[in-house]
């Protein structure tokens, strides 16, 4: 009876619940004993030339150790050369390196201009934290304003270019892909029903509860850097490149990390400045940003505008779909075309649509740079196609569930290749839809909706569906590492390249070892995030960890088992073929003869002083495609426009479930963020590029009071591409929840003539839509 698939509570929790986690700002290492505190001076203006920086007053402030600007950075090498494909003045394509360099390159401290509010201009080092803000206020920077390019429309108009020498503000683009390659819309020629819609997928702020934090110490030719990161090893390489150091001279440690959601991949610009400051001054430096800094200094997510066109037959068959994406990438194209290329790749979602065309342009604007945020390009694809399907259903008068069922890829078509270039491994989309409809009581919900419409109730009911498929471990070829050691005392240590920041890897990796070897979880220590102990690894993003890092752990365990068999045979003077590992009791024995049993301690001890070790790098994985359906029930007050989510029912199928407890937790968290995008969150800039939602008072993170408990249904359709049969669950909940919730609110108002409302569906926006539709949902 394997422990896999059973409800195991986390090993991480006793420490987190009693002493609290050790996040970067909690670290009390001796190397940091005499650390100074870093406070940044940041641009208050979206677009300007920097004509002078006067640090003299700041230098005289209490506790100031140094005030550093770009003028002090002469100890750094020149920036990397421009990319070979000539990305200087032509837009980078899909193959462009990420981030784009050359003319689009991003400096560390601002050089001669600033391009977004929050861009770092100087760094102040003080003896203690409280003195930092006082001193930073005294740094005087002269700005000569330039015309702000505050949104994608302005960027495309091109009157002001952010980067001298470039031809436009388009940093990357892909022309029409998919098999509708004519790009002239002719794919819709055979369609009886065609709907076109402009859709916004609004800019979001990731808001992990722990902001960015870095502590760095330079001593004896070695740089030690603690980073709140999802990737210690990648951070090390970024640091090496940016600071001109040999990677061997750098140690990166990821302690406990208070959430990442894709925005803590590697180490970012501000973190590099902190590390440089430590090397430059020879003093250890600590930095933990405030939330206000985080709202504009940490990368944002989403920020796409879509034009969709969907066409098909009157009886609900979708024949053609077109998606054009304009990706606002903020002030610097840190991700090149990566995000919208994933959006285009997943354009058709779980539907068998014969004719597809997809395209994108990436534009720079004077706003915070965009990067990955839970889903990273795939929520956008799902949100677009799920709105398109509902619009198509409304046009045909057919039930949205029925339209989905007609068009979902049937179970006998896998692996399924889409016209936009993805090959889905396994899936059972129709069953997922049917399970959710049954679990939610769809017919009764529609009946209740009809009753309320009949009565003309103020509180109307909306039911929203979203069927989705998404790509996880898109970079599976990059692999993941694991090293397993069984010690002479019979305990084990796992060194994993994965990098948990809440996901519970320590628990699951221990479960995998117990399942394979019979060593109890309590005797398995898992270590991650220290490049001295784990020099090679990729880390955690793209929902890759279980299917790559976990599989690597299992493979290492199998390797250890194979080695142990040889050692046991020697110790027990038996032939290998006669030996068995009893994983229930965790002992080796001659088959069927428990009296001969030997413990792991005895076997490992017999192997030698180092015990048994196996190291793997699992690179044979491939991207996998979890899928599901979400159904949201929303109640909308048609007099005020306020929408409330009252139920949320899901299937999120990510293959074999190794830990049901943790999988549910990932789904819950994903759903909450997805709902929040639909109803509440938006990172707003005014026409001058000033952030309007710059604190948690104005940026509406969802709370427990706005959510119901969720109804999660079980579904496991294993993948064939890895031995565990697992796909990634981390982002799926977010991807399904956003469009289901958006569709639910719009559905509540369908009888009033409302067809589309852009997110977030705030009360004001919903009320305005009701009014515009011309029905009396408004005033008494």
């Amino acid at each position: 009876m394997s422990i896999l698939g059973t409800r195991v509570v986390r090993t991480e929790d006793p420490r987190l619940l009693t002493a609290g986690g050790t996040y970067v700002d909690d670290v009390r290492a001796p190397e940091l004993a005499a650390a100074v505190r870093a406070t940044f001076v940041r641009s208050p203006i979206a677009h300007a030339m920097v004509t002078g920086i006067d640090v003299s007053a700041a230098l005289g402030a209490e506790g100031v150790v140094a005030v550093l600007t770009v003028a002090d950075m002469d100890d750094l090498g020149p920036p990397p050369p421009p990319p070979e494909d000539g990305g200087d003045d032509e837009p980078g394509g899909e193959a462009a390196p990420v981030p784009l360099g050359g003319l689009w390159a991003e400096p560390l401290l601002a050089v001669d201009r600033v391009r977004f509010v929050g861009e770092p201009v100087a760094i102040v080092l003080t003896d203690d934290r409280y003195q930092g803000e006082d001193a930073a206020e005294l740094v005087s920077v002269d700005y000569e304003p330039l015309p702000p390019v505050a949104n994608a429309e302005t960027a495309l108009a091109g009157e002001t270019l952010l980067f001298p020498g470039t031809k436009s503000n388009i940093a990357a683009m892909a022309g029409v892909t998919g098999n509708g390659s004519a790009g002239d819309g002719s794919i819709f020629d055979g369609c009886d029903v065609v709907v076109e819609q402009a859709i916004g997928n609004q800019r979001l702020a990731p808001v992990p509860m722990e902001g960015r934090a870095v502590a760095a110490a330079w001593a004896d030719g070695k740089l030690t850097v603690w980073v709140s990161t999802q990737n210690a090893q990648i951070s090390r390489f970024i640091l090496a490149g940016a600071l001109g150091l040999d990677p061997d001279a750098i140690r990166v440690i990821a302690p406990d990390v208070g959430g990442g959601f894709g925005a803590k991949i590697g180490i970012d610009r501000d973190g590099l400045i902190v590390a440089w400051a430590a090397k430059h001054t020879g003093r250890p430096v600590r930095w933990a940003e405030t939330r206000s800094e985080n709202m504009t200094g940490m990368t944002h997510g989403r920020a796409q505008r879509h034009v969709i066109k969907i066409g098909g037959t009157r009886d609900g068959r979708i024949l053609a779909y077109a998606l054009d994406v304009v990706q606002d990438t903020g002030a610097f194209p840190r991700m090149g075309g990566f995000l919208p290329s994933l959006t285009n790749l997943m354009a058709t979602g779980p539907y068998a649509i014969g004719q597809v065309q997809a395209s994108y342009r990436v534009v720079v604007t004077n706003t915070t740079p965009i990067s990955a945020y839970r889903g990273a390009g795939r929520p956008e694809a799902t949100a677009a196609v799920e709105r398109a399907v509902d619009l198509f259903a409304a046009e045909t008068g057919l039930d949205p569930g029925e339209v989905r069922r007609i068009n979902l890829v049937p179970i006998d078509q896998f692996p399924y290749s889409t016209p936009s270039g993805a090959t889905y491994d396994t899936g059972d989309y129709v069953t997922a839809l049917d399970k959710v409809l049954a679990g939610a009581g769809y017919a009764e919900l529609r009946a209740e909706q009809a009753r309320r419409r009949e009565r003309g109730d103020v509180l109307q009911l909306g039911i929203g569906l979203a069927s989705y498929v998404e790509i996880t471990a898109a970079d599976a070829a990059g692999g993941e590492t694991a090293r397993l050691v069984v010690h002479g005392d019979g305990t084990a240590t796992v060194y994993t390249g994965s990098s948990a920041h809440g996901q519970g890897h320590h628990t699951v990796w221990a479960m995998l070892v117990e399942s394979e070897l019979g060593i109890p979880m309590a005797d398995v220590t898992v270590i991650h995030g220290d490049t001295d102990l784990i020099p090679a690894g990729v880390g955690t993003y793209a929902s890759r960890s279980l299917q790559l890092g976990g599989v690597a752990v299992q493979k290492a365990a199998v390797d250890v088992k194979d080695q142990a068999r040889l050692v046991a045979a020697d110790l027990m003077e038996a032939s290998e073929a006669d030996l068995e590992l009893d994983t229930e009791r965790g002992v080796w024995q001659v088959r069927g003869d428990p009296a001969t049993s030997r413990t792991w301690a005895e076997i490992a001890g017999h192997a030698g002083a180092e015990g048994l070790t196996a190291a793997t790098n699992f690179t044979e994985g491939q991207p996998t495609f979890p899928f599901g359906t979400h159904l949201a029930v929303a109640e909308v007050d048609t007099e005020t426009g306020k929408a409330r989510l009252i139920r949320h029912v899901t299937v999120d199928d990510a293959g074999t479930v190794v830990s049901p407890v943790l999988a549910e937790g990932q789904r819950h968290g994903g759903i909450a963020q997805g709902v929040a995008q639909a109803l509440l969150e938006e990172m707003v800039y005014d026409a001058d590029g000033n952030p309007v939602t710059a604190t948690l008072v104005d940026y509406a993170i969802i709370t427990a009071a706005e959510l119901p408990s969720f109804e999660l249904l079980a579904s496991e359709t294993p993948t064939t591409v890895n031995p565990l049969g697992v796909k990634g669950i981390g982002e799926a909940g977010t991807i399904g929840a956003t469009p289901a919730t958006q569709n639910a609110v719009i559905d509540a108002l369908g009888h009033l003539g409302v067809r589309h409302i852009d997110m977030p569906l705030t009360p004001n926006r919903v009320w305005a839509a009701i009014n515009a539709a011309g029905e009396n949902g408004g005033s008494r």
Binding site: T290, V692, N764, W767, S779
Partner: protein, 273 residues
């Protein structure tokens, strides 16, 4: 995140508080619960040079029955008011509204005096004070005076308090019909400031966030006095108001919400047994 430097002084009595305020002059501020002031100071939107902590003046923390009125000490916390049995019986509008301020942690610290003195038109208690015809008692260097709620709120973050004056008590005339109350607080999330709010006590109707100060919906009150049905009276809710425009609401939407919420509040108040 960190307030600018200041000098902290703690007052052991109201007299001492007034003395310290006189010493500190214009750059001195009273610190009650700190939940209006400290957030501003942390963002450096307020930079007083002296903070006079009055938070331990227990003599200003009470809820009492008086002659024809209920007397609430200015340092009563929102939590005190929300859980007061006396208020639940005699002034349920105030008890209920106090229980809606912020979240439990804020309610454990924030005080009614602090909230009223802060005079934020988006806060709940200023409008409640208007609806209750409250009288605000202030003590200053030149003695004690009573200020009607209608005169107290003079502008956004501007009250009638003079420098060095301390709010000591909120005196509310006993309502004729305590049960004729309603409080409609319309927010995006439960934790948010009201986009628009309505406080009703008897025939008094006051509005949250429909102007630079809390305001009485006089046109509604006049219509009711003239015998209009509540639904018709509510149609005047936005008359003579200048609602702000912000992220959450444009002007037409706020005006619309005022009408909807006043109608609902009047209905709720009338339906109470």
């Amino acid at each position: 995140m960190i307030p600018a430097p200041f000098t902290y002084r703690r007052a052991g009595s109201v007299d001492e508080a007034l003395g310290l305020a006189a010493e500190g002059g214009e750059d001195a501020k009273f610190l009650a619960g700190g939940h209006s002031l400290l957030p501003l100071m942390k963002l450096r939107l307020a930079v007083p040079e002296t903070l006079i902590d009055i938070g331990r003046l227990g003599e200003l923390r009470y809820v009492r029955s008086g002659d024809g009125h209920i007397a609430v000490g200015a340092l009563s916390t929102h939590s005190d008011l929300a859980t007061s049995g006396l208020l639940a019986r005699e002034l349920p509008l105030l008890a209920h509204a106090a229980g809606q301020v912020g979240d439990p942690q804020v309610r454990h610290c924030g005080t009614i005096g602090g909230s009223l003195a802060h005079a934020d038109s988006a806060a709940d208690l200023p409008a409640v004070a208007l609806a209750l015809d409250a009288v605000l008692v202030a003590r200053g260097p030149s003695g004690t005076r009573e200020i009607a709620a209608g005169d107290f709120f003079q502008g956004l973050f501007e009250s009638a308090l003079q420098p060095g004056e301390l709010l000591t008590e909120i005196r509310v005339p006993r309502p004729q019909a305590p049960a004729r109350w309603a409080f409609q607080k319309f927010t995006k999330r439960a934790i948010d400031w009201a986009i628009v709010g309505v406080a009703v006590q008897g025939s008094n109707v006051a509005l949250v966030n429909m102007g630079q100060t809390p305001v009485r919906a006089s046109a509604v009150e006049q219509a009711l006095a003239a015998g209009a049905a509540p639904g018709d009276a509510a149609a005047h809710a936005a008359d003579q108001t200048s609602p702000p425009e912000d992220l959450n609401a444009d002007r037409p939407y706020r005006e619309h919400l005022a009408r909807v919420l006043v109608a609902r509040a009047l209905e709720e108040s009338a339906a109470r047994p």
